[in-house]
């Protein structure tokens, strides 16, 4: 993999994604290769944090003491401007189709992406 940019999965306030230098395939789950064509070393870039809500589910029943402290929290799937889909948290009043922007919030001892309606 080319240089590993830190992102929210490593407690950095960023969302990153990979683009294949051979076929152009965009992927969110980082790997050492392109899942579409197999070419190695996909290029890592920082995403703009802009996207559109694909789906929502307000979690009202959590399974651990750490997550229960945050109930209810809204889990989202967001279609990001760069062409990948990610799971994140967001404001509870978001609707499918809303244009959103990412920020970051602490959740159960970690940092997670949190989307709000784009102003």
């Amino acid at each position: 993999m080319s240089e590993r940019l830190a992102d929210w999965t490593r407690s950095e306030e960023a969302v990153t994604y990979q683009t294949c230098t051979a076929c152009g395939h965009v992927q969110y789950f980082h790997r050492a290769f392109c899942a579409a064509c197999g070419a190695s070393n996909p290029r890592v870039a920082r995403a703009s944090g802009k996207g559109r809500v694909y789906a929502t589910s307000l979690v009202c029943r959590a399974a651990t003491p750490e997550t229960r402290a945050h109930v209810p929290y809204n889990i989202l799937l967001v279609d990001c401007a760069e062409g990948f889909r990610m799971m994140a948290h967001g404001e509870t009043d978001l609707a499918i189709g809303d244009e959103v922007t990412a920020s970051f919030k602490p959740f159960a001892g970690k940092l997670v992406p949190f989307f709000a309606k784009r102003k």
Partner: protein
Amino acid sequence: MSFITGVGLTSFGKHEGSSSLDLMSKAAQAALDDAGLKRVDIDGVLCGYSTVSPHIMLATVFAEHFGIRPSYAHAVQVGGATGLAMTMLAHHLVEAGVARNVLVVAGENRLTGQSRDASIQALAQVGHPDYEVPLGPTIPAYYGLVANRYIYEYGVTEEDLAEFAVLMRAHACSHPGAQFHDPITVADVMASKPVAMPLKLLDCCPVSDGGAAFVISRERTGEAGVRIRGCAQAHTHQHVTAAPRLSELGAEISVARAKEATGLAISNVRYAAIYDSFTITLAMLLEDLGLAGRGEAAARVRAGHFGRDGAMPMNTHGGLLSYGHCGVGGAMAHLVEAHLQMTGRAATRQVRDASIALLHGDGGVLSSHVSMFLERVR
């Protein structure tokens, strides 16, 4: 050719003091008795997994415990699709001449063997460890995401989804082995506690103890024969983040392959056994499989279409939603019930004609699919 020569099913609910092996053994003995076979006749063993008692070699642990020395044995793991995936493998093993009688078995004390939180947490691990699990999702949340999208695209309502819970409860009321026997209404479902919106408590299957088993054989052992006509799978993704659009999910692909393999059409089907972990799962699968038009499954439930006396009776035991869900054995109960219906042994639940059945299982978050056609032969 392969036949399902015996089936066994425990009641679901609380089996205080029973281990996973106890429940597997109980179901296996019932399946052997039903097939009229002895331990020595079983030369293949396929088993599911137990989240309560995980083991890297569960099939041989079970075989030793139960008293079988098979020539072929291992566990299979495809989440909720495991039962039908094992049946499909058993079918191919028998057809290929690898084994004569394959015992397919699963059982788990998931309700009394661990806390409900532990169950929910163990299952949530099907999510991506880096990109999903840190966000605190649960299985209901994964399906809640899909449900809200389905509602958005096809105009289905929460009341529509509630219909499936009501139907499964009505069916469970006539099965003595079901976990729940109190009738419920759409209003009850709507008023039940929110879990992961739009899914409420009664939109979700319970956690249960229980076990189920079948024997898949090269030759019939009794008068009534149930033949596996053919089956197929499709696997499009693991994580909901990586799922294709709603119109490209695996159920449509696997059922198309199963239809091609058997030469059968949906119009041939007389009984349906469909995976129902949540109300949304059942609604989507019915429509993906072609058992209802897009967005029309709930209307068909209201019209009695999927009831015992309807045109397409379905999950007459009560399904995962109300018979219960003990892990791998949960969806195997659907096949046991189909077998009882096809052999005229479903007591007060007996439908008029179950000559051809369509079974469908789903694992993960609509990730892994198995479709199977069974046919009664005389």
